[in-house]
């Protein structure tokens, strides 16, 4: 299972456990706002070598229909995937 953004975000102290222990992999905030450029995958050119997936520090690239896709909630736009792609299937586009 890919970790995902929870719909329920604890907002009051009642909802947050008293101890420091909490469910592992509990995500309540996105990282999308950090990004100034976003990677766009051209599925025509993608040969599914998974070099982008392997080298992504955030692990936001995943397999989809035999190609790859990006989880834009957590991508920080570092551009490593574009550098790693040998078939030129990823381009970086400015965020508007």
């Amino acid at each position: 299972m890919k970790p995902f953004l929870r719909e329920k975000v604890p907002t009051s102290f009642d909802e947050i456990p008293d101890t420091t222990s909490y469910e592992a992999g509990y995500l309540v905030t996105k990282n999308a706002g950090w990004r100034s450029v976003r990677p766009i995958v051209d599925t025509e050119k993608c040969i599914s070598c998974l070099r982008c997936y392997l080298h992504c520090p955030d692990g936001v690239i995943f397999r989809q229909d035999g190609k790859v896709a990006v989880d834009y909630d957590f991508c920080k736009g570092c551009g490593i995937c574009k550098k790693m792609c040998k078939s030129g299937a990823i381009r970086m586009e400015a965020e508007k």
Partner: protein, 295 residues
Amino acid sequence: MAINAQTLNETEFFYGHKACAGCGGSLAVRIALKVLGENTFAVLPAGCMSAVGFNFPQLCFSNNAIISTFAGTASMLTGIEAGLRAQGVTDFHAVGFAGDGGTADIGLQALSGAIDRNDDILYICYDNEAYMNTGIQKSSLTPFGARTTTTPAGKNIRGNLRPKKNLFEIVAAHGIPYAATASVGYLNDFMRKIEKAKQIKGTKYIHILAPCPTGWGIQTDETIDVAKEVVDCGLWYLAEYENGSFILNHDPKEFTSIEKYLRKQSRFKHLTDKDIQTIQNSRDAKWEYIHRNFK
């Protein structure tokens, strides 16, 4: 079959973290956990990975993970391993991820103790060559000439005066069952080493070089290229220590330019040609030693 991008576990265990874009250390943690699998208990001392992974209630590890004291990574691993064993759990890995400061300076005593007891743990040092989390202070793994906030580059003193501590061989000198060096620029090699460490009983140590775009002064997309280049230019090496002997995994026929590697990082911008010659001489001496003593 060797593990690669196609056969790697698709589950993400380190996700949604707040590391800087292009962070090499978080890539090392992510890949290591994917190779180790679900039944892994991770220990993270104070350092980048605990600061970016546990922003309560945003908890980025999908496996068991805990923050330890700065000096206590290895001792906490010892406790976790013993505790699980006492509970009758057999199928697990206790792994620690400490930075270069948490390993070579602050946590060295605990690490040395754990190796001495030969506890069944895996200790991974992600080496970004300074205390990056607190704002780039020199550690004993900061290389010669690097500018940090505690070794500034001025007119008379140009950055760090001391060479990088040879931690891999210090760990190996304990007679550890398995130790290895790696780089995030060579992930297949790193994954093979984790896979190997998984099978070995006793203390395992893997030292992975992980560039930090913020501290090294490189673009966020250059992390992997720089991590590859540092191996290709001979300032880092991929090796293993096993059964009492050193094995060199990657022997570059010809080194790429050290100057090119250094000049692209702003932490080395101030170096003179003479400084670069000093670095080149120490590299040549190191490789002469490696060729003499490594298989």
